[in-house]
Subunit: 331 residues, 2 copies
Amino acid sequence: MPTIKEVAKAAQVSVATVSRVLNQDKNVSPQTRQKVLEVVRQVGYTPNMLGRNLRRKNTERILVLIPSLSNQFLSGVIRGVESAAKQKELQVMISAAHNDREAEQGYLEMLYNRSVDGIILVGSTLDQEELSQLAGQYPLVMCSEWVEGANVSAVGIDNEQAAFDAVNALLASGRKKIAMVSNEEVYSARLRTQGYRRALEQAGLPHKREYEVEHYEYTYRAGMRACRMLMALPEPPDAIFAVSDELAAGVCKALIEQGIIPGREVDVFGFDNTTMSKVVTPSISTVSQPRKRIGGTALELLWERMEHPEEKPRLVLLPHELVLRDSSQHR
Amino acid sequence: MPTIKEVAKAAQVSVATVSRVLNQDKNVSPQTRQKVLEVVRQVGYTPNMLGRNLRRKNTERILVLIPSLSNQFLSGVIRGVESAAKQKELQVMISAAHNDREAEQGYLEMLYNRSVDGIILVGSTLDQEELSQLAGQYPLVMCSEWVEGANVSAVGIDNEQAAFDAVNALLASGRKKIAMVSNEEVYSARLRTQGYRRALEQAGLPHKREYEVEHYEYTYRAGMRACRMLMALPEPPDAIFAVSDELAAGVCKALIEQGIIPGREVDVFGFDNTTMSKVVTPSISTVSQPRKRIGGTALELLWERMEHPEEKPRLVLLPHELVLRDSSQHR
DNA sequence: TTGTACGCGTTATCAC
DNA sequence: GTGATAACGCGTACAA
């Protein structure tokens, strides 16, 4: 593990000169540059980031903190972060907090102790105050999932409107008994529930309380359970809107088990346009979010916070799209 | 951003004492400890890891480098890594290399420049020599996917045997024209192809070249393409074994499009036991790997390398299981 | 028990 | 264009 000192000695120059060569400083003659680079190559020298970062007071590295790794949608978002980060020459690290407050705080500490220059947070167990305070002190933005009222830059889609649109698509094909599988614990899902209700209201339909099923995980098992509950009602729904594709896939699965073909007697609508929504039979109609753009924008917002911490945080909403497939009728 | 110096001044002690308190050094009186902790709390001091790491020459942090984030199976593996890492008080970071050699090398540099203490590598674009050399110099182990002949600690399953078992399950239910969707570029998939061939040989069946389809991505689209090719053969197969569940899901999808129900005329077998294999209809028979245990073992192997770099690397094979579902017949 | 002083590897500020 | 040298924040041998 050679250090800059050893390189300097071997090249018969000072450490300052080596440093200058390594950092493309103008003030160094071609000959010495040549010589230094030669030695660097020869001894296989790599700058120790620990020293460099200490001196420079930054790491050129950011963290994306997500709730779970097994999320196809987030993987697209992160691709967006990565490609935007590449242009800024930032290294991207990812960690999963698993909705564990302690784990999340452990990773957020990386801001305090300067292990990373900034954090893109997808969802959080912290409340608005904690987040506002944190974002006031360090570069921190939220992405896809944020927290109501927190004074933090964030990017995502208009969840309320997206749900409104999805439900309207179901209404347009004649469905009138539309149920929803949501998650009160997550802000984006709450907004989607609001959009769902607005669509029903606008259509002059009552929204029955028993048509709104809550679940605290976005798994296909939860979707199956929700579906069974709904179909066991005295008046079962003729359409089910779920806040994630995996939930929707579970809904479809449960319908099929009961001999009901999704898209025929009962429509199903999902959210996120993941692979799963395409691959199951029938394929699932869903709301598509511009994942990569969301991720790219998150990085831009983070960059803003890093460069201009004094400016106010801002919220960016990107357009969504409906993807109509076989699980719902449409003309 | 208070430093240890400021804490020392405020507590009217030396920086050494503060450091001692922070590092649970015995040699400090209860009173001063009390006082220091008080000040630490009051000014909200957090040790700067840049300084600490430089001094200690380590980071207590490891990296898991995976090919892609959108891999349900790997997410389980990483859970295993995380829980094992927690016990060793190591922080886990994840990055995706996307089969990009340049990106991979960028992350591997974190070993050279001491940004992390070790790396768990899932697959690699490097060859055996490069890997052997790297692992000789730094804590580096491979997990799930490794490289033939590389002198590197690794953990996974016996892929050849697992494929052998899966194909035997198909044979046991009377299938005789078994095709395989594999990927020659990946060592684990090559091993699985070998297991497939051995099973056919043992059953006295010829292995037709046209029954082995290559694909370089584990996507459902690739699975669909492969299936269409196979079913267009003069003598189409009566069973298809794919090296991933997503491929298998694509195979099923293409079969269904042709009006063929997987598990009836044609059996389908996947690999990894991901959510997708459960949620599609019909559910897909598959090979289950002990993901969490694989991840946990990977961390143990890495720990071995960190503690005893002089010892020889070793390979750990963990048991697999067949999960029989609706996409294949079985009595 | 506590403090002083040095070093970790790098970059930046001066001189020259 | 180049070289000393002082930081960066922390841990620790050594002295007291």
